[in-house]
Symmetry: C2
Subunit: 348 residues, 2 copies
DNA sequence: TATTTTTACGCAACCGGTTGTGTTAAAGCG
DNA sequence: CGCTTTAACACAACCGGTTGCGTAAAAATA
């Protein structure tokens, strides 16, 4: 499309027989500009529908007033909620937000992080893809002193600000809740070992068993493959049943997996929660809709977004490098899927 | 954070005793640069970890190679899928994507559209908020000749490129399907009248009734308030039941509403689909998980995203203004929620 | 060998803002 | 009334790239 000639500061200056700097200053109400001049400039700006050129501004100020965000997938309720939290605070502080998805691909993550770097974002908020096991593309940020905050999924080898939830404690509580309900043979459908959160949740699972004197059984630690989707849960659950493994409860690394597990269990006419209780992680909206409603660990997603921005701004405004790590706790929301009928009998 | 001195094209030029332009051209493999010089430049660029400054590039080229996207909410599976489609094609064509949400707020939509304009996006793809009934903020785009594409939710008073699905036909098919299943007293839970899609779906609903000789009943056209969330559906459904209105089928303007309706029906011990059949619109993933699985109209969301980019690029590359309107059809996915037991008897 | 091409690169303007440093005339001061 | 302030604005450099045009030397051609 043929380009439209934007009216610039210079156009206004010429028409008013003043200098560029005068117009620039008039536009931002600088004190050293006469009232009459100011009015003339403002009027003309309105008349010509003047819009400042952010690009030029950014180039001269060396700041874009923009923060970049990279998430694995937008289509997860959790991530889109975090983003809402990020936007809320960012806009309030006069920052724009550029959102990118890595689509759970390491390669794509590298590309968008470089693009964002070249676009000179003032800071970056990231939750890494599940494939990512190299952090060189983020080290460049550190090298160039551009503020970085990780949330939820962090790079274990990077010492940067982060806000995560206490996966260990969350997992521990979930499993203990199942034990309290009289469950003894509790399986864990685990996430990709690449992600620290997977490992933390496994640890919480094991420690809860340990605390209650239940020996850890290798066969009950189920690998869901590389995916975190419903399908992976379904397949893994069927495989488990086919292998003759029959737990009395399942703690899944995330809700989609839990949902997949539940559909498979129902298909196999296994009663939830009586025969097998289920607990998920994340509390996606779907958890309340499935039958029976799924117990899950609620993560304060919106707050995580806000805190991420807060930590980022702290870095942006700090004269020296800053590293802050926040840990929030996930709250166990008990619904029917884990409400064993023996619950009351076994409660301590 | 104290700013890190980025190495620029000029730094490299000085160290090599060549001019800026030579370095610039060497970096992009221009033919008029000697092989030795090229290599020297590339080597030094790598050594200093040079990253081109996109801001400067954009300023001089008057093109940011960026397309803006505004959606009402990221947390809807439909929208995030459209975005994936947009990103896919955009990246392939060398464009970056900036995603913003209006949060279904007119005010926020105006702000982000202005921000995007100042950021000099090369084009904008929009699905408007449900509050929006003024299009001045988009007219500025037209005025400045920056390409615009609407998808799904369009501004009725703007003559611009758009890609929408055939809401009328979709609704018609859904309702006819219910009629074929023997349903006669079919209610429609409608969307906000601000949105054209709501009106189209109402029209399809009415015409399907008409075709099959069923008189339209005002009382069966239910207003869900301004929201499109599950809660709105629940409330409206309960209100309907409380008013003594008892249809034998419900066609909901979207899946969340349908889900809300279903939960209320189930709470009232009404059997789905035997007593009341339900059909939604959008085919969110949740539709397959709820019990019984929800019949819905599948929108080719990913494709809608791709086509939006295609239409946008057509404009960007066209010497003259261009307006193309694409209409895709939604496919009815029949699941249990609308599979009336009398289906076979009544089929024509 | 004289002349034309080609190769390889430099110069400087330009994109649209911001900002430190003048400069001039009016106002304030003792 | 002479001198210092202050108000109001102009100049020009700068941010980091791109690009049209000019030019000198080397290569090709006549």
């Amino acid at each position: 499309m043929k380009k439209y000639k934007e009216t610039t500061i210079l156009d206004i200056a010429r028409e008013l027989n003043v200098s560029k700097s005068t117009v620039s200053r008039a536009l931002k109400n600088h004190h050293s500009i006469g009232a009459a001049t100011k009015k003339a400039v403002l009027d003309l700006a309105k008349k010509y529908n003047y819009h400042p050129n952010n690009i030029a501004y950014s180039l001269s100020k060396k700041s874009t007033k923009t923060i970049g965000v990279i998430v694995p997938l937008l289509s997860h309720y959790y991530f889109s909620t975090v983003i809402s939290g990020i936007e809320e605070l960012a806009y309030k502080e006069g920052y724009k937000v550029i959102i990118c998805q890595s689509a759970e691909s390491y390669e794509r993550e590298v590309i968008v992080s470089q693009t964002l770097l070249s676009s000179k974002v003032d800071g970056l908020i990231v939750s890494i893809s599940r494939e990512t096991n190299n952090s060189d593309h983020f080290k460049v940020y550190q090298q160039k002193n551009v503020p970085l905050v990780f949330f939820d999924r962090v790079c274990p080898d990077l010492d940067v600000s982060s806000v995560v939830i206490d996966d260990y404690q969350g997992a521990f509580n979930a499993v203990e809740h199942l034990i309290m309900g009289g469950k003894r043979k509790i399986a864990h459908f685990a996430g990709p070992p690449m992600l620290k959160i997977s490992l933390e949740r496994i640890k919480g699972y094991k420690d809860a068993l340990l605390k209650h004197g239940i020996p850890f059984d290798e066969n009950l630690l189920i690998d869901c493959g590389s995916g975190l989707e419903q399908e992976n849960g379904s397949i893994a659950a069927q495989a488990m049943l086919d292998a003759g493994i029959r737990p009395d409860a399942i703690f899944a690394v995330c809700d989609p997996i839990a949902i997949g597990v539940m559909t498979t269990l129902k298909k196999n006419k296994i009663k939830i929660p009586d025969e097998i209780g289920v607990v998920g992680f994340c509390d996606e909206p779907i958890a309340t809709v499935i039958e029976p409603p799924l117990s899950s660990l609620v993560q304060p997603a919106f707050k995580i977004g806000e805190i991420s921005v807060e930590l980022l701004l702290n870095q942006i405004n700090s004269p020296i490098p800053l590293v802050e790590k926040k840990v929030l706790s996930a709250e166990l929301k008990i619904r029917e899927s884990s409400l064993s009928s023996v619950l009351n009998d076994n409660r301590i």
